[in-house]
């Protein structure tokens, strides 16, 4: 797992290789730490975690700005509400 700051208000959370529940728990913790308006780019390759992360954002109000999917890898940009 890697979490780093890419730019002002932009962070990257790389949880490739992890299975449930790790990607969704790490995503939740990352979003809880950053400021409203900040963007976290989440990189994961466990499809079922995507369902959970999307539902979690629906509940919290965090917005998924972009979703990229290529060769079993997902890259989602999530803006904290």
């Amino acid at each position: 797992m890697k979490f780093e700051k890419r730019d002002d208000g932009v962070y990257v959370l790389d949880v490739k290789g992890y299975v449930c529940p790790h990607p969704q728990i790490y995503t939740k913790k990352a979003l809880s730490k950053v400021q409203p308006g900040d963007v976290v780019e989440v990189i994961f390759d466990n499809p079922s975690s995507g369902e959970s992360i999307a539902a979690m954002c629906e509940t919290t109000g965090d917005e998924i700005l972009t979703k990229k999917h290529d060769g079993g890898q997902f890259v989602w940009d999530i803006e904290k509400a």
Binding site: M1, K2, F3, E4, K5, Y11, G17, Y18, V19, C20, P21, H22, Q24, I25, Y26, T27, K28, K29, A30, K33, V34, D45, N46, P47, S48, E51, S52, I53, A55, M56, E58, T59, T60, G61, H69, D70, G71, G72, Q73
Partner: protein, 492 residues
């Protein structure tokens, strides 16, 4: 060449590579499907009895497709509620259970059900608790690990291996473990008068089964209300309505108020400035239909699980058998058949026993004397996995999930990291022990039993919820610890 022209050329090349990759995956998907079709056709041409095994195979294939399509994992049902506040899978599972219950009630009332209820007591809760912790550690339940293996996830394969080996070892454990058996269990097990070759007074699991579990009452909601399971009132009112529909609706109300209501009403108030009782109902319905994929998978699983019972029982009548052991003997396979001439042949979706069987078969081939216990020797046998009907189901489930993942470009071969491998082994071992104590996993001991109105199913389920809560608490602590350093380096 201008920069724009280079960009366009690069994009076209990348699109072409992507299309090529997708086409390759599609061919693999067709290949897997054709492989299973050839097995079915080839074996049927050899003997019509193989159609019995092919029924297991194709239902397994369908389950795999449904599970992958809906990302249907029992582990995430309560784990995601506690971990990230997401109710989608809890909802999906309740939908599947209610549908399965409706189809089952019909089948039971026609007298064609293959289901036998299990003893009900605190053991089901404890087994569920151990299983629940295990499934959170492992990252998937017993059925979820099968479908995730089909997605190319090798951590899930490790989980399956761990469940399989643990069960095979646990079921045959004797020696020092006999000292842990209460005298009452030992005396009761010996008094059952099982054949000498089984030696029910030796081995922890044997004495647990014959000395404790078999003494517990077998209850369904229908029998609790004085109705027979096969009567229309018993099947529909007792087992379906009271045993499944009411508790499922109640559970969903709890989930709605606990995890879904606040966010939904917040949005409604933002839109309209207020909320009414109508909005509450709309919120409840929105929760149920929030995830289309999960709901559709639940719906299909419920229907096909019921159909499998009907088709299997039909074939039993056609071939004049009660159990696949007779068919295997007719086909010339008498190795690994139990002392009662039976093999594991539930006639419905099941996961863990066939996993224990194939490892039991391997151990036996390497010289282990593991047919002297109740689990293998008296009930389930350890037939060659190549002709074990339930193993056909599990392998086809992995295949069905692989096909679905390949078609949706979600197949990715993933090697486990050391950390995930450790969690997989620990979680799998806990699920293996929980399965043998509870006489089944999230499918056999919970999903199937609950849908048939078996009271022990809900006890196992409550245990799983408790176990999931404990597992999530642990992982919260674990991830918090791992992220602290990363946050510090980002000044967060």
């Amino acid at each position: 060449m201008s920069t724009t022209a280079i960009d366009i050329a690069t994009t076209e090349a990348s699109n072409s590579a992507l299309e090529k990759d997708l086409r390759k995956k599609r061919y693999w998907a067709y290949g897997v499907t054709v492989f299973f079709a050839l097995i079915s056709i080839g074996t049927f041409l050899y003997s019509e009895y193989y159609i019995y095994l092919s029924v297991y195979l194709w239902f397994g294939f369908i389950y795999g497709m449904c599970l992958q399509y809906g990302r249907f994992c029992f582990s995430s049902a309560f784990r995601d509620l506690f971990a990230v506040g997401v109710p989608r899978m809890a909802v999906g599972i309740m939908i599947a259970t209610v549908l399965f219950a409706a189809v089952s009630a019909f089948i039971t009332s026609t007298g064609l059900s293959t289901f036998h209820a299990a003893p009900t007591s605190i053991h089901a809760f404890i087994a569920g608790l151990i299983f629940g912790v295990g499934m959170v550690f492992a990252g998937g339940c017993a059925s979820g690990s099968l479908y995730k293996t089909g997605e190319g996830n090798m951590s899930a394969l490790l989980v399956i291996l761990s469940i399989s080996v643990t069960q095979a070892l646990f079921a045959d454990m004797a020696g020092w473990t006999n000292a842990l058996v209460p005298d009452a269990w030992h005396e009761s097990a010996v008094a059952k008068g099982l054949p000498d070759t089984i030696n029910a007074g030796d081995g922890w699991v044997d004495q647990y089964l014959a000395g404790y579990v078999w003494n517990q009452p077998v209850l369904t909601f229908a029998t609790l209300f004085g109705m027979s399971d096969e009567s229309i009132a018993g099947a529909f009112l007792g087992n379906m309505l009271v045993g499944v529909l009411f508790p499922a609706a109640l559970l969903l109300v709890i989930v709605y108020f606990g995890w879904s209501r606040r966010a939904f009403l917040r949005r409604r108030v933002k839109e309209k400035g207020h909320s009414t009782f109508r909005d509450e109902l709309a919120g409840y319905w929105a929760m149920i239909t929030a995830n289309r994929r999960t709901a559709i998978a639940g719906l299909l699983l419920g229907i096909f699980c019921g159909l499998q019972m009907l088709v299997t029982q039909g074939l039993r009548v056609k071939f004049g058998i009660q159990n696949a052991g007779t068919l295997l003997e007719r086909l010339g396979f008498d190795y690994g058949i139990s002392i009662n001439n039976t093999v594991f042949d539930p006639g419905y979706w099941y996961v863990t026993t066939q996993e224990a069987q194939w490892v039991g078969w391997v151990f036996n081939k390497f010289g282990a004397d593991n047919m002297d216990n109740i689990y293998f020797g008296f009930v389930n046998g350890i037939p060659n996995p190549a002709v074990n009907p339930a193993d056909w189901m599990s392998l086809a489930l992995i295949g069905g999930a692989a096909v679905m993942a390949l078609l949706h470009n979600e197949f990715k071969f993933k090697k486990p990291t050391l950390e995930l491998a450790v969690w997989a082994m620990i979680g799998g071992a806990l699920m293996g022990i929980g399965s043998r104590l509870g006489l089944g996993c999230n499918v056999g001991a919970f999903f199937v039993r609950v849908a048939q109105g078996d009271t022990s199913g809900w006890l196992f389920g409550l245990g799983m919820i408790g176990g999931a809560y404990i597992g999530v608490k642990f992982f919260n602590w674990w991830t918090e610890r791992r992220m602290a350093k990363e946050f510090a380096s980002c000044d967060l």
